[in-house]
Subunit: 411 residues, 2 copies
């Protein structure tokens, strides 16, 4: 695909977005339900294509797992689409209606963004999930996946084309960039005439490329260096359960905890209990921690700044709530930050003073997820403050248009 | 100012934002009222400083007028601050409160963005207006004005420092980049550790520099190539009044109309009436227009794509509402687009199908302005779709933080 082929495809996606914005709620729901059915009907074919791509995949580890589709994963792609189809229509709600002293009637109308560009690595489920969220919210999805998943993605996109055409909608409303070269990725990030919003879903190198090359406004789905602060008033049994859950239930995801901060007054009781409850986790602690847990690895400055995404947890003993908040301000990435406390005032200080997409009191950071918060899926978790913060669901794929109605008013 | 001096100043602004986010409603209001009083008390001094900068200013025309302060302009800066001070507190509203089946209590809390960076040209009133909107909404304002207005801006910022200190708040909450070199401007746009949001207020070269260099998320205050479509059912007297107002009341602003589209069936009655009503405006028309108005200049393709910001209006005769909508989709910049019609169905088609920050029915495009829409001032008018669309007031300088409260829930 040359740059001009990309431009031509982009033009078709743009036109498709105009049609999608006018599609009815029923049409948009029907597309998702059709794809859900077809994913189930064609699972064997899809898994065979995916198996060939796995054979050709040279690396092992997390990347391989992200590329893998299984019967259960395809089933959950289908059920995710049905859930999004069942969600209430995010479009055409009117907000802030008012009448000005001069008689102008003003409101804001919720409308689709237009064309959403998503750049991602492996994870063929993203192809289906993102297309589902985009079509449900009246947007076109323009997808740039990785070369390793190209055939799998192509097959999934073909199901979308079939469903869109069945509803009389342009198939280009779900389009895949077939050329997965870096040049084309850069050109893609600069398609200001086509894309209204760009969402990167990937590691630090993708984020860096986005910051360097993107000209289209983007929403960063950034790192999650999440903390849990165990306050001096905490229910320590609860604290152990929460930290264990936040670390070990799924260590490779962005809402997993990476550092636990504990108040000095309860460290002596809490830390040995924590270590006992999660023997599979390597603890890396400061001096005070290692006095209590001689088996812990010494924590360096770098440890506190890292998103391990692994069975490793940094630990630090602090003297006060203020010190805990200052630590989070310094090392946090603005994702999800939790306090365990029985002190209401400390809880409210945490809620008000910690600057992050999500703050939690007495709950696992693992709840910061579109499904868990009731958004019915998510296109990513934003760690920036503009447009969307935290999980981006259907509503975050819309914008508000001012509508002004008058009877000839002039200024 | 070296890059490291900028970084040091940035650090102080960042710290100030943390303090501002905790300041009370009363404190934030009091700062604005104090500056308003001081602007009135020091008007003579301010005008003298401004006069020296005007003496040194070599260009004439619009740039000179934008640099100029007068007694009336300073008075309106002060009254704008009082109006913003009187506006309701945009902070700490809670939205979307709900309880999940597992008992987690979820809400979203409106909080400041943090540090707002604004890059602008001349216009010393922006220094005061932007600082007012930022402080009122609990944000720090980090301002990079032009070299031509440096002394004037410095004086205005000194009044803010005085007021912030009086309220026990850090003066760095309103900071001016004193080095107005291009290198520092580029470094400023890349301060991802300091700035949460960047707003450019200036012409196409500033926008281009922003797209090229900015690494901080920005909201574009872009061009306004605004259209008015006169439908076949329009009240033609009303249409003449609206077009005249939208073109001549203030031709140099972004919400002024640049092109009028008229339905063929009413062109013969409408166009001569329009030309008669605005003899000071040069009309540039297509063939059909020039048949009816032999004095009109021929319009080129380029004319339809231009924001004149002058007493020039492009004119085109169209065969249908669809053709008018297609013209706007092709040439519009997504700012403000109006229809004049007595046909309700056509009005609703326009509202739904035209993709712009604002759509208007039977009203002048000049109403798309923060003050006119009741926002109590604006930091700019966004022509992009992410975060804010149209006039950005106090609420657009905030973001939502997820707050999750539990009793030990794990996943």
């Amino acid at each position: 695909m040359t740059t001009s082929a990309l431009a031509q495809q982009g033009h078709a996606v743009r036109d498709a977005a105009v049609a999608l914005a006018q599609a009815s709620d029923d049409q948009r729901r029907a597309v998702l339900r059709h794809v859900a059915d077809r994913l189930e009907q064609t699972t064997d074919e899809l898994l065979a294509i995916n198996a060939r791509e796995l054979d050709a995949y040279r690396e092992s580890g997390a990347g391989r797992d992200r590329l893998l589709l299984t019967e259960a994963r395809v089933a959950s792609m289908a059920s995710a689409l049905r859930e999004i189809a069942d969600a209430p229509d995010p479009l055409f709600e009117t907000l802030d209606a008012s009448t000005r002293p001069n008689g102008l009637r003003i409101e804001r109308l919720r409308v689709p963004l237009g064309v959403i560009g998503v750049v991602y690595e492996n994870r063929p489920n993203v192809t289906s999930d993102v297309a589902g969220l985009c079509i449900r919210s009246g947007n076109a999805a323009y997808l740039r996946g990785s070369s390793t998943a190209l055939s799998t993605n192509r097959f999934i996109v073909s199901l979308w084309h079939e469903a869109l055409e069945k509803e009389g909608l342009p198939s280009a409303a779900v389009s895949l960039v077939e050329d997965t070269s870096h040049e084309t990725a850069t050109a893609f990030m600069q398609m200001t005439d086509v894309l209204d919003c760009l969402i990167p879903r990937g590691g630090p190198s993708l984020i860096a490329a986005m910051r360097e090359h993107a000209r289209v406004p983007y929403v960063l789905d950034g790192d999650g260096n999440c903390h849990i602060y165990v306050d001096e008033s905490a229910d320590l049994d609860q604290a152990v359960r929460i930290v264990r859950n936040a670390k070990v239930s799924r260590p490779g995801v962005c809402n997993a905890a990476e550092t636990v901060l504990v108040h000095r007054k309860v460290a002596e009781r809490f830390l040995p209990a924590l270590a006992g409850a999660m023997p599979e986790v390597e603890l890396r602690g400061d001096g005070a921690t290692r006095e209590l847990l001689p088996g812990a690895t010494p924590a360096t400055e770098e440890d506190y700044g890292r998103e391990y995404l692994d069975l490793i947890l940094a630990v630090r003993v602090v003297d006060s709530l203020d010190e805990a908040i200052a630590h989070v301000a310094r090392y946090g990435t603005g994702h999800s930050e939790a306090i365990v406390t029985e002190n209401l005032d400390n809880a409210e200080q945490w809620v008000k003073r910690v600057d992050a997409a999500a703050v939690l009191v007495n709950a696992s950071t693992r709840f910061i997820d579109g499904g868990e918060l009731g958004l019915g899926g998510e296109v990513g978790i934003s760690t920036q403050k503009l447009h969307a913060r935290g999980p981006m669901g259907l509503r975050e794929l819309t914008c508000l248009k001012w509508v002004v109605r008058g009877e000839g008013q002039i200024r």
